[in-house]
């Protein structure tokens, strides 16, 4: 479904060039669960950014269903982000001035046409799915970190994404909340949603079907554990 071919990415800052990714090759199949672990600065988040089209690679290509993302044009990439890709960030990234329900509906607010009742119902279902139906009208400031992260996951679910990219989804949470988030991700993966997760946590990384480790912008090794390990 998603393929990364010979992707390289460098960042230049204050005259120093940092090679964040160096000739990465990677494939994510439908329904896969990929974890990317590694020390800070190893290029994990950059890889996630490149795979989710948020970061353009310097070299190489990202293919989605066989089509080069770079050739899709800006409109095509926007459409891809809207329809097929869902992203969950480490620090939740909700719109602070919108309620939980409105944040879940955010992917549909890119146009003038008003959101219909059916989409609003679907958003409530997604909130219910992540156990936050009762907090639909709460502003992010009134939600805990774990709740905010679950709203972000509901936001990815509402548009029926094909792949969910999660950048350190448990990074800013306590372990109990982190466990609940991982439980949720594993459950969604079991239903067919492909998940690509960047994490520092070895325990959570071990829950993935495909485990990748990065070091100095390169994939150090790849291992696999069964998703059956997920606490479904």
């Amino acid at each position: 479904m998603l393929e990364v071919r010979n992707v390289s990415k460098a960042f230049a800052a204050e005259g120093t060039v940092t090679q964040a990714l160096h000739r990465i090759n990677l494939a994510v199949a439908g329904g896969d669960f990929v974890s990317v672990a590694g020390p800070s600065g190893s290029g994990k988040s950059t890889l996630l950014g490149v795979m989710s089209t948020l970061v353009a690679p310097d070299e190489g290509a990202v293919l989605y269903n066989g089509e080069n993302v770079a050739a899709m044009g800006e409109r095509g990439v926007d459409r891809l982000r809207r329809r097929d890709f869902g992203v969950v960030f480490q620090f939740h990234h909700l719109m602070p001035t919108m309620t939980a329900l409105e944040n879940v509906l955010l992917p549909f607010l890119h146009r003038l046409r008003p959101v219909g009742a059916s989409l609003a119902d679907r958003a409530r279902e997604c909130l219910e799915r992540v156990g936050l139906a009762h907090k639909a009208d709460c502003l992010p400031a009134h939600l805990s970190g774990g709740e905010q992260q679950r709203v972000a996951i509901a936001r990815a679910l509402v548009k029926r994404s094909r792949i969910l990219f999660a950048d350190e989804p448990t990074g800013s949470l306590d372990s109990a909340t982190g466990d609940r988030i991982m439980e949720l991700l594993c459950g969604l993966n079991a239903e067919g949603l492909a998940v690509v997760m960047v994490t520092h946590n070895e325990e959570y990384a071990a829950l993935a079907r495909t485990r990748l480790t990065m070091r100095d912008g390169m994939l150090a090794d790849a291992g696999g554990t069964c998703c059956a390990a997920c606490p479904a």
Partner: protein
């Protein structure tokens, strides 16, 4: 909910910031509206007053000149044709032309040369000008008189009409030009004898530097009767309001209505008048532009700060598939809302403030602030447009934000 819900929610939830920006822009709009209101009213008032106090059209009898000479020897020029205008005809013409609403004052005058006996006893040849006092004083606001005008009930010199004159139709008195008074040796309260009648000198004009210094001014009716020219005038000065109407056109209309008269527009007066009004308007326009530019700069800077502050949110929107155009619309709409609301509030505030300010300005006394639906809509629309334009650069910057800005680790 749609894309506009995002900026609306932001403005609602961040109301202190929104209120501050709204307040700044409202003050800007109110200042401009108030200045515009005051300038237009003051200009209109000034124009009305200037027009009322100064003639800008001159109506004279049409005369032709014939050079007389014989055998190469010139005997001079001879004027022929009507020497006087019919006062009633001119009044009628002024009251019936298409632009009659713009005629402020019609001031007829009859000129005559009279033997006047003053304080010295010996008669002196003096120019006598018959005028309608109320009209003359309206167009000669620069006159200053020692004593009083004959049409005033009483002045420093006492009653203008000599007590011994019991006849209500008797002339009320004269005003002497400064040089004429000196030549006749008269002062306010003195008496001059004209055409066998004693007239009290109600006042003496302070030197004007013009023709008025050398003449005696008396009631038009008296002069007409004294010289057997009832209903006649030597020339007529007309003061016309010329806001939005070319003075030449009014002159042409009068000329058409008065075939036996020559009608000329005094362009210099008009130009001077317009220059004064134009200067005031340009000055206030300049101040308004500075205020508007400042308000726009405030909106632009505030939006720029908002873009920098919300870069993660913008990155999030972009990562969710919002196009650059959609992000651009969000910020422009936010600015447009503030501008529109500020325009509405600014118009109301500015009109009220302008009305209050007009009350403090003597020149605009009598002018009051009033709401105008079209101006209200125009102000709101203009402020909305200006705010949107001011937000263009920040909105463009927001639209160019890369979605990767949402990734904290980068």
């Amino acid at each position: 909910m749609n894309i506009l819900s995002i900026p609306l929610r932001y403005m609602l939830r961040k109301w202190p910031k929104t209120l501050l920006l709204f307040g700044v822009f409202t003050l800007g709009a109110a200042s401009v509206v108030a200045l515009d209101h005051v300038s237009s009213r003051v200009a209109a008032n000034m124009e009305r007053q200037l027009a009322a106090f100064g003639a800008n059209i001159l109506v004279r009898p049409r005369t032709d000149t014939l050079r007389v000479g014989y055998g190469g020897v010139s005997l001079g020029a001879m004027q022929f044709g009507a020497r006087h205008l019919d006062e009633a005809a001119v009044e009628r013409a002024a009251a019936t032309i298409a632009d009659r609403a713009n005629i402020a004052t019609v001031a007829p005058k009859l000129l005559a040369l009279a033997m006047v006996r003053g304080a010295g006893g010996s008669p002196v040849n003096v120019g006598l000008v018959g005028v309608r006092w109320d009209r003359e004083r309206r167009i000669k606001s620069h006159w200053r008189v020692d004593g009083a005008y004959p049409d005033e009930a009483a002045g420093p010199a006492g009653p203008a009409r000599p007590a011994k004159l019991a006849d209500p139709d008797a002339p009320r008195g004269v005003v002497a030009g400064a040089r004429a008074a000196a030549a006749l040796g008269v002062a306010p309260g003195g008496v001059v004898r004209i055409a066998g009648q004693d007239l009290r000198v109600a006042g003496v004009l302070r030197p004007t530097g013009g023709d008025d210094d050398s003449v005696l001014l008396a009631d038009l009716d008296f002069v007409q009767r004294a010289f057997g020219l009832e209903g006649k005038a030597s020339f007529v000065e007309v003061a016309a309001l010329c806001s939005g109407c070319p003075i030449d056109e009014i002159a042409a209309q009068l000329a058409a209505a008065l075939p036996g008269a020559e009608v000329g527009a005094l362009q210099g007066v008009v130009r001077q008048r317009m220059h004064s009004i134009g200067f005031v308007q340009k000055l206030l326009l300049g101040v308004s532009l500075v205020i508007l530019l400042t308000a726009c700069a405030m909106v632009g800077l505030s939006m720029l700060a908002a873009v920098n502050e919300r870069v993660r949110e913008i990155g999030l929107l972009r990562s969710l598939g919002f196009s650059r155009g959609a992000v651009f619309v969000i910020f422009c709409f936010e600015a447009a809302c503030i501008g529109l609301a500020a325009g509405l509030a600014g118009y109301a505030l500015g009109t009220l403030a302008g009305g209050e300010a007009l009350g403090l300005i003597d020149v605009a006394r009598g002018a009051a602030g009033e709401f105008d639906g079209v101006r209200l809509a125009a102000t709101a629309g203009l402020m909305g447009l200006l705010a949107t334009l001011a937000a263009f650069a920040p909105a463009w910057k927001a639209a160019r934000t890369e979605p990767s800005r949402a990734l904290t680790a980068l």
